[in-house]
Amino acid sequence: MKKLIRAAMVATAAFSVMVVAGTPAHADAKARPLTVVKKVVTDRIDKRLAALQKFGTTLGRAEKVQAAHRATLTSLINDQTAGLKALRTKVGGETTAAAVKADAKSMVDDFRVFILTGPKVRLTAAIDTELAVATKLGDKADPAADKLAGQVDKLLAIEPGPDAGAIKDQVKPVREAARAARTELKALK
């Protein structure tokens, strides 16, 4: 009887080792059904569509955004919304995981909603508002206004792409200029 129990324990242990060793950790992810993968990507697209809607609201509330900047940003938001909606439909019709993966890459690289479009809207609103403050403060605010000159154009010229680091590096000096100007203008008022 003892032998039988020992044999059963050994067999169980051996089976467990076989199961664990034979199943790669990422097998679950790889074996996910196409419908699940499509839903994950669709949800991520929906997050971006919701964010774009929010950016539109932010832009609408920012009264001091200059007309040309507003037109550029409105067009950007509309184009990206249309593009992401088309991509959403495309994902729904995909029949292979590889195609969905390519769509997911396009969703990020071709739009850069979070690291580029968002900062474009928010920093443009901030900088144009700061320029309005500088105008109200008069000559004493000229140095601050000079530092802000051309920053929005530089920001709006940044294109989305696969290199997230390069995009962040281009946005960074504009963000820093906006923050420095805020401090400077607050000290002048």
Binding site: R44, K47, R48, A51, T58, A62, E63, K64, V108, R112, V113, F114, I115, G118, P119, R122, L123, A125, A126, T129, E130, A132, V133, K136, L137, A164, R175, A178, R179, R182, L185, K186, K189
Partner: protein, 77 residues
């Protein structure tokens, strides 16, 4: 029987008295609390300048815009 009637009458008096507590007395103006809450904000909007119209208001706007810019992204991008 008489006791039951007395209790019923007392309860009725208390009830009607209690229910009428919120009713304004004759000549007294009706409660203005709800009207005040809806009309109060309208007055400053029409008489006071817009908050964004001055430097402080504009700088507050800048603060909000830059604070929003500092918040983390909602998804990997």
């Amino acid at each position: 029987m008489r006791r039951t009637l007395a209790i019923t009458l007392a309860a009725a008096v208390l009830l009607t008295g209690g229910c009428a507590r919120n009713r304004p007395a004759a000549g007294e103006p009706a409660s203005v609390a709800p009207a005040a809450t809806t009309t109060a904000p309208a007055a400053p909007e029409t008489t006071a300048p817009k908050p964004a119209a001055d430097v402080d208001g504009l700088l507050d706007e800048v603060d909000k815009q830059l604070a929003g810019d500092a918040s983390p992204t909602e998804d990997q991008d």
